[in-house]
Every structure is written in structure tokens, then in C-alpha cells.
Symmetry: C3
Subunit: 184 residues, 3 copies
């Protein structure tokens, strides 16, 4: 009797058709070994963090603050508007693009997840979902955004909430799974 085919074949799973990391291998390695450890350090300072991210291809507007222990997977897939606040230990895990509007606040320890898996495929294929955050939105501390989440302008994702899909403009969601609890 034949062994059934493995459902997941990790380490060798299929990437989405046409996907590429979007940067030369050397740049990726440089970011991983040098850029990210510096960005994620305890050292304070917004200016040098912006310069570092921009040097690796991120677009970041004027103003705002970038706090220590920030993590960004692929800077070249990150666009941040003006006057944004990226709090301590925020983790932007952007295999797919993350686009952040003006005057957005990502509070401490918020986690933006863009990678999913097709657990129904034999190869447990990686699926990606870009994340978009509209102007004047607030992602509170320790909140988690699922792949493909769109947080519209002025929406609020509450402390530790786990949000997915679309968070409508001006809506306040909280809980896990996050549900709307009020309008701003």
C-alpha cells in the first residue's frame, strides 16, 4: 500500500505564481544581517531610522516618529505617509506590500501579517495579502492585522484586537476576532 502523499511539504512549499521578493538577493541579505538589526535596536531616533529604511527602498513621508525595536521584513515593499507614528516593537511582516496613509499610529507591539497558507493545497502554498491602512487610522498596541486587511481612514483597531477583512472608515473594532463596537 502506498503512503498517502503529504499534505504539507514545508521547506519546499510553492510560492504564489509570479511572486518575487522584489529585491536582489544581496540587498535582502544586507537588510537581514545589517539593516534590520540596526532598525530593531534599542537606540532611539527617528531620522536615522527613516534614512535607513529609505536606503533600502521604503517610501516614508515627513514628520512622525519611528521608535526602537521596529521590524520591517522588506523595506522596499513599505510605503508610509506623513506624520506617522510607528511605536516600539511594531512588526511589519511585509512579504506583500504594506501601505500606510498619513497620520497613522501603529502602537507598541502591533503586528502586520501578510503571509497566509492555502492549507487545502497539497503544497501548503504560501498566499500573500497586502495590507492597507487609511489616513488617520490607529492600530492600538499588540493588535494583529491578518493578510489582506484593509483598515479604512480614521478606523481604530483596539488593544490586542485581531482584525481581518475590511475595517470600515471611522469604525472602532476590538476583540479577537475583532468586531465593531462603536463609531469614532
Amino acid at each position: 500500500m502506498a503512503t498517502p502523499a503529504p499534505i504539507q511539504n514545508l521547506g519546499g512549499y510553492q510560492l504564489p505564481p509570479g511572486w518575487s521578493p522584489g529585491a536582489p538577493r544581496g540587498l535582502q541579505v544586507l537588510w537581514m544581517l545589517l539593516g534590520q538589526p540596526l532598525l530593531g535596536s534599542e537606540l532611539p531616533g527617528t531620522g536615522w531610522r527613516k534614512a535607513l529604511l529609505r536606503g533600502f527602498g521604503a517610501r516614508i513621508g515627513a514628520g512622525g516618529r519611528l521608535k526602537p525595536r521596529l521590524r520591517v521584513k522588506f523595506p522596499w515593499r513599505l510605503a508610509v505617509g506623513e506624520h506617522c507614528w510607528l511605536g516600539e516593537a511594531v512588526w511589519i511582516d511585509n512579504l506583500a506590500p504594506v501601505t500606510i496613509g498619513d497620520r497613522v499610529c501603529l502602537s507598541q507591539g502591533a503586528y502586520l501579517c501578510t503571509g497566509n497558507h492555502d492549507f487545502r493545497s497539497p503544497g501548503f502554498d504560501l498566499q500573500l495579502g497586502a495590507i492597507t491602512i487609511g489616513a488617520d487610522a490607529w492600530i492600538a498596541a499588540q493588535a494583529v492585522l491578518a493578510p489582506g486587511t484593509e483598515v479604512q481612514e480614521r478606523a481604530v483597531v483596539g488593544l490586542g484586537a485581531v482584525a481581518s477583512g475590511t475595517v470600515a472608515a471611522g469604525t472602532i473594532v476590538r476583540g479577537n476576532p475583532a468586531v465593531a463596537v462603536a463609531q469614532r
Copy 2:
């Protein structure tokens, strides 16, 4: 047509009236660059962690344990009772005072959040809420306490729960948002 006024003006938001960090700038910088990295290191040891925190103004009682990778924002705004256990990677983000009673256990990765924002104000003003934890309470691993939370004596905040408001004495809460599920 005039551009509408920004709702959030991050990097320049208003601090609560009368608020101050509570310590000279030099001490803050020293804590950030030297104290916190040491406190948050992998090195084991309770005694030297207590001495370090006390040197920066924390009040900590006898006994208990302070584990590696502990984070404290402002030691001078931290009061911990006797025989408390602060577990690995606990993060006390105390812009406002955090007061912890005797024999309290904060388990691994618990996060105490004291900073909020008035998202209805034009300046997205910072709002602070002190956190108080009564004697013999237990904040389980990965739990999150919102600004202003009061966990009364002998209460338990369950694994990964997100609690806010008042957790009544001897009550066990869990979930996100956390709700009472039992009495101790």
C-alpha cells in the same frame, strides 16, 4: 477650498496637562541606553535586576523573582510588593504609575499598557491610565492590561486575555475582551 485640518498630528500630539516623565532627561536617557538593555538581557538573576531598578527609583519588596528580558519604561513609576514574580519578557510600559501588590505573579510576555489616545481630539492627545494589581493576583502569560485597569486582590487574568476596567477580587477572567468565567 481649504484642506481639512488633520485629525491626528503625530509626533506633535499633546501630552496630558501637567504630565511630566517624572525624572531628569539625563536619567531617562541613561535608563534607555544602559539600564533597560541590561534589565532586558538574557542574563539570569533577580538580585542585580532589583538593584538596577531600585537605582533608577523603583520600589520593589523582598523575595520573588525577576526573570530575563524584562522591560520597564520608567522604573521611577514602578512599585512592586513582596514575593512577586515578574516572568520572562514581561513588559511594563508604565508612562503612568504601575503598582503591584504582594505575591503577584506576572507570567511570561504579559504586557501592561498605560498609554491611550483621545482619538476624538484633533491632536490625538495622549491619555494615561495607571494600573493597579492587588495582592495575590495572577496575570497569566501573554495577557494584556489596558490603561487604567485595576486587577483586584486574588483575581486571575487568563492566558492571552485582554483585560480592561476593574477585575473584581477573586475573579477569573479570560478571552479578548476578557470576561469573568469563574471565582477563585
Copy 3:
């Protein structure tokens, strides 16, 4: 009048009868001071991480990936099957044994908790619960497993979910507390 006996006596609480860390003290210290910091570093590489964990007693099958910033409490209490993916910043807090089947994926920041407390006992005694994860299961990013959790084969614990008890084979759970939402 006598002072009432403390309900919790942290720092001196009772370990479960017969429990031992399962490794000589020297090995524990070596792991804590040298092994874990290396395993948990930003350096990429699966091969050397496997060799390191195996050198400290872990059993790990062929294939798969071990990503940076991985944490393992006691490698000698860890068994991982073939073709498993342990993502970035996964934290296996295995005071008690953790057993992971073939082709399992633990995504970024997942936390496996094996330590509990008997909060009804005078000594706040430590209670341990082993965790078992069946073949082809997926623990998504930032998910938390409680002590004693059994995730059966092909089950999925969703993004940021907090699961406990038994997650039945092929069942998809999400939320906090996690509840079944679909079959795979």
C-alpha cells in the same frame, strides 16, 4: 491576631512532585547563556540551528526550516518531526515536553505554554502540561497554546488564537478563546 497565611509564595512555590528539569545544571546554564542566545539570534540558517538543538538533546527530523529568533526553553524536552517549519520568533516554552509531528508549521510569534499554576493551592504550585501537535497541523502567527493542549493532525489554530484542550483533527479554530469555525 495572626497574619493570614500568604496565598501565593512566589519564588518558593512547590514544583510538581517528581518534576526535574531533565538535564544537569551545567547543561541548563550553558543553554541559557550560550545556546539560546545563539538560537534566538538574527542569523539565518536551519542547519546550524538543528545541530545546536540536537546537541542539547532535541530530536528533530529531516527537512523543513528553523527561522531566526526562535526560543526553546529545554531542548531536551523537544521532539519535532520531519519537514517542520518553525517560524520567526516562535517561542516553545517547554518546561514540559512538546512533541510536534511531521509537516507541522508554527508561524511567526506563536507561543507554546506548558506552565500553569494551581492558584487554589497555598503555594501557587507550578503545574505542567505537555503539548502535542499532530502531523500536518498549522499553528498560525501569534497564536498561543495553553498547557496540555493537544492539536490533532491537520488542525489549524488561526492567527492570534488562544487555544486550549483538544483541537480535533482537521478542525480550524480561531479567536480568544479559540472556537471551531470550519473543517479543513
